[in-house]
């Protein structure tokens, strides 16, 4: 019991640390790919210290509440995700709960940004929600394939089965679903070529346009949690999870580095191009995967 309470307190903090480390690493890797020296690895922490010490402008009750709402949603999702052996809330809930609560984060950002009453925010939020509409279809199909194949909705069970039977992405029935999830992962994390929701050059960083000071710092924390959740879910479902935390971290690191390399070289899609792409190839692959799982895999 005591161990569980300590885990519930410390695990989101660790997730936050990993997310912030990823933010710093992303900037460093991008810099090295572009033949620059790049900022120090702790630059996001320096930015956050600065932002918490800067004045900020609030735009009303919903503006404050939306950020807290999305942060709480992210922390709850983190508690349901197994990280190696650590999973404080493993006995209650499963993939379905994660799917429901994962919607909190974008909804909170939308609520909060809507109060900002800046046209750039409205454009950014509409792009973000349209993008969510695009990737939710292949995402749900891929997760449905996993649940059908392993005949469980518990994510801990999925990890346990994969420990014995091998990684899902290399097993025959789930191969296509894994590829589909990998193709939509940049859209879930908001990395290029799917960063049209927060495009600084077109719409002044979209939903973030009115955030200043501590609000912006909370948004970066939320972004760090988002990175952690997206990658940890992929590692748990398709890369076999891990028996200890260190191996799990290195798997996440490998996935994230690959995604950042894609992020560094590709330009941005327009929103209708992104929707066309997301509803064509990943959906097709995920649907074929689901058919294979439900017809041949039995």
């Amino acid at each position: 019991m005591v161990v569980k309470i300590i885990q519930i307190i410390l695990y989101p903090l660790m997730a936050l640390m990993i997310g912030i480390f990823f933010l710093g690493l992303a900037r460093k890797i991008m810099a090295r790919i572009q033949w620059r020296y790049g900022p120090p690895l702790i630059q996001p922490i320096i930015d956050m210290i600065k932002l918490f010490n800067q004045n900020s402008v609030s735009h009303g009750f919903m503006f404050n509440f939306g950020i807290i709402f999305s942060l709480v949603g992210s922390v709850i999702v983190v508690l349901f995700l197994p990280f190696g052996g650590i999973c404080p809330l493993s006995s209650s809930g499963g993939l379905l709960v994660i799917l429901y609560i994962m919607l909190f984060a974008p909804l909170g950002v939308a609520l909060s940004g809507g109060e900002g009453a800046n046209p750039n925010i409205s454009i950014g939020i509409s792009r973000k929600l349209i993008l969510a509409l695009g990737y939710e279809v292949p995402f749900l199909l891929a997760i449905l394939a996993v649940m059908t194949h392993y005949e469980t909705i518990s994510i801990v069970e999925v990890v346990k089965i994969q420990q014995n039977a091998g990684w899902a992405i290399f097993s025959l029935p789930l191969f296509l679903s894994g590829i589909a999830y990998l193709m939509i992962l940049p859209a879930i994390l908001g990395l290029r070529p799917f960063d049209m929701a927060s495009a600084p050059q077109e719409i002044s960083s979209g939903p973030m346009a009115e955030y200043s000071g501590k609000f912006l710092a909370l948004m970066s924390i939320e972004h760090a949690f988002g990175l952690f959740i997206g990658i940890a879910l992929f590692v748990n479902l398709f890369l076999g999870g891990a028996s200890n935390a260190l191996i799990f971290f290195f798997k996440m690191l490998a996935v994230f580095t690959a995604l950042i390399c894609v992020n560094a070289v590709y330009p941005r899609f327009r929103i209708e191009q992104a929707l066309k792409y997301l509803w064509k190839w990943p959906t097709l692959l995920a649907f074929t995967g689901l058919v294979i799982v439900s017809v041949i895999g039995r």
Binding site: A31, G38, I49, Q54, A209
Partner: protein
């Protein structure tokens, strides 16, 4: 570079944060903006000093005015400066904001920008090289260390005079005063 000195961080985290995380909003008023792309990309890489461009004044804490300021642009410059959350630093880039530069006898440009908003530092030259921006950044670090980069406090203190100057150049301003004007001289 003392970014890695732990003692300084523990003593004054806010000051160190403001030093090493300068988020810049570049105001592209004139030809000076052509020096910015090489500064922030691979050739000179400003990001290693923690200097990155941001898209909106709300997220920024340093305001770089690159080039001459016409009367019409001055309105946007003042609005942008007032939107940046404190503490904020303003830097004039090139000789035009300093004293008009080659537009010294133009009827339509502002000659001395620091009459209208407080400027913490100048980068002289026409054009200054990108290296000059880095020298300016290190000078700004020194100023922040010695608590001398306090233009925003000056603006708050002397807002009445700044507002009067702004109204002299632009006529009646359509936005309300940022601070109350009647309050005199006290912070």
């Amino acid at each position: 570079m003392d970014r890695n000195q732990l003692v300084k961080w523990l003593k004054a985290p806010a000051k160190m944060g403001h030093k090493y995380s300068l988020h810049v909003v570049y105001f592209c008023t004139g030809c000076g903006i052509i020096e910015i792309p090489p500064t922030i990309t691979s050739r000179w890489d400003a990001e290693r000093f923690g200097v990155i461009p941001v898209a909106t004044p709300r997220q920024a804490n340093i305001f770089l005015i690159t080039g001459y300021v016409s009367v019409k642009t001055l309105k946007a410059v003042i609005k942008t400066y007032e939107q940046i959350p404190e503490p904020k630093f303003a830097v004039g880039f090139g000789s035009c904001p300093i004293n008009g530069g080659m537009y010294w006898d133009s009827y339509n440009t502002i000659k001395h920008l620091d009459k209208y908003i407080p400027i913490d530092g100048w980068i002289a030259g026409c054009m200054p090289r990108p290296e000059a921006i880095f020298i300016a950044v290190t000078h700004l670090w020194t100023l922040i260390d010695k608590d001398m980069a306090e233009g925003y406090k000056k603006y708050r203190r002397n807002y009445k005079d700044y507002r009067a100057n702004q109204e002299k150049a632009l006529g009646k301003l359509e936005w309300p005063p940022l601070f109350s004007i009647n309050k005199d001289k006290d912070d």
